[in-house]
Amino acid sequence: MNVLTDNLSLFREGFIGTVELTVVSGIIAMVLGVIIAAFRVSPVPPLRVFGTAWVNILRNTPLTLLFLVAFFILPKILFPDMDSFVLGVVALGFYTSSFVAEALRSGINTVPMGQAEAARAIGMSFTQVMRVVVLPQATRAVIAPMGSIFIALTKNSAIAGGFDNVDLFNVTKTLSNDGYDITMIFVWVTLAYLIITYAINGAFRLLEHRMEVAR
């Protein structure tokens, strides 16, 4: 018990760190994911190739390896003085964007072909077809898997803790090095993660209810 009370400010810092990492990389993942999903279903071949390459490379590379690339290779060739938080959310956001893109693509596949064809028949451009007809319907189908992706993202953010970011994982290490009982540290850190993941869970549950339609 005294692990928490003795180190309240450290826990708070770690909790905020994890939330920040999750939120910022979640936004990056959403934006990139939508773009890449659109690429993957677009009628332009080079865009499709780019989208496929993006998804396959990022989804199939272990996240730790992406972090190593971000921390040891990017600064060497591109950005020498990048903040570790930025590097961390880039690695996390890019990695997660591939999962978002794939979830969206599967959502797009649930929209009957006729819908897009009808939209095109009345003279809509590709962007309009996507924005007005396909994506709104696809969104409904992807809410549940999207929730899982963001919960996974929360937990993946722990890797950033090993790369110069203060988060809950980092707090665990600090306290266990101080010699506190590791079981109690884990109990509190697990609770903190549960708070975040349950909040995400609840938000998506709410979305699901909002967007529900009778089929």
């Binding site: 071949p45 499709r48 190739v49 496929t52 390459a53 998804v55 396959n56 490379i57 199939n60 590379t61 390896l65 190593l68 690339v69 921390f71 040891f72 290779i73 600064p75 060497k76 020498p80 570790s84 803790g161 090993g162 790369f163 110069d164 970011n165 203060v166 994982f169 980092n170 665990t172 290490k173 600090t174 306290l175 266990s176 090095n177 101080d178 010699g179 506190y180 009982d181 590791i182």
Partner: protein
């Protein structure tokens, strides 16, 4: 369809290329092969194994029954506790101390089973009985004493700084203000150097080897932890790295033991004392951390087990 296929192939090749360069980069930093600690130096050392030892301790009795002593150690600290990844053999000062203790408990080096234990898991490993005792740059402190017992200290280390050979500004802890200093996540030296007194900007990575890699890339300016560990890294790469300044903290190293096992604690303490007196301690020192440039100090007086 054809296009999709070739796209997939292209993606696969790109993915392979990416992972390959990633590996290449990592190996690149290790590429200029560091001069590792040589197990030849410690091969000559041997200790007389005592016979018919009997200690009124449950840990000891269990070890005797299984015919093996399980010792927790570090694997990534050259000249202290280091495992050669090709031969799987352990070497270093801590390893030698452990062998001395084992000999006095009646176990030959062949009867020792080494186990690499991560810093954060040491107390748990000892109190759960995963290891019979733990010896690996293990600083004795009060919070840890609540969970386990210590025998020692057998050595005093102190936090210090490792810098690039051409570094001129950093001469000690009082000159790191505003500089980037790296250490491992959650470690005490990190908390230390962060203090307003020193005011360094810290970088936290998972391994000392990563810190050293970042320093060689000019991303951080110094690495901090116990001098004994840093000396090992400097000795591995003498052309590029050096240790600067006087140690600025006190880290008394002890042997971590299961709480309440007074008999074993006494036996371990006696074993270390005996080997300090007969000269084995100094010989082991000279063959290990002595080689990395640490100066020999007379062994610290034991804080007697209460």
């Amino acid at each position: 369809m054809k296009l999709r296929k070739s796209a997939a192939t292209a993606a696969a090749i790109a993915a392979l290329a990416l992972t390959a360069t990633a590996c290449g980069g990592k190996e690149g930093s290790a590429g200029d092969k560091p001069e590792g600690p040589d197990s030849k130096d410690t091969k000559a050392l041997s200790y007389t194994v005592k016979k018919d030892v009997s200690i009124d301790s449950s840990v000891f009795k269990d070890a005797k029954k299984r015919g093996k002593l399980v010792i927790g150690a570090k694997a990534d600290q050259p000249y202290l506790g280091f495992q050669d990844q090709s031969t799987k053999e352990y070497s270093g000062f801590d390893i030698e101390i452990a062998k001395m203790i084992a000999a006095d408990l009646g176990f030959s080096p062949k009867q020792i089973e080494w186990k690499t234990v991560d810093s954060g898991a040491r107390e748990t490993a000892v109190s759960k009985g995963d290891v019979d005792f733990m010896i690996g740059t293990y600083t004795i402190n009060d919070e840890r004493k609540k969970q386990i017992d210590f025998a020692g200290p057998y050595y005093h280390a102190g936090a210090s700084l490792l810098v690039r050979k051409d570094e001129k500004d950093i001469k000690g802890p009082e000159t790191v203000r505003g500089k980037k200093v790296c250490s491992i996540v959650g470690s005490t030296p990190l908390q230390n150097i962060k203090k307003p007194k020193y005011g360094a900007k810290v970088t936290e990575l998972s391994k000392y080897s990563e810190c050293v890699a970042q320093m060689l890339n000019n991303q951080v300016d110094a690495v901090t932890t116990d001098d004994a560990i840093l000396m090992g890294y400097a000795a591995q790469n003498p052309k590029k790295l050096k240790v600067v300044g006087k140690p600025f903290s006190d880290e008394p190293y002890g042997v971590g033991l299961k709480k309440g096992d007074k008999a074993l604690q006494k036996a371990v303490a006696d074993a270390i004392k005996a080997h300090q007196e007969n000269g084995d301690y100094k010989k082991a020192f000279d063959a290990t951390i002595g080689k990395s440039g640490s100066e020999y100090k007379d062994p610290p007086a034991f804080t007697d087990p209460k």
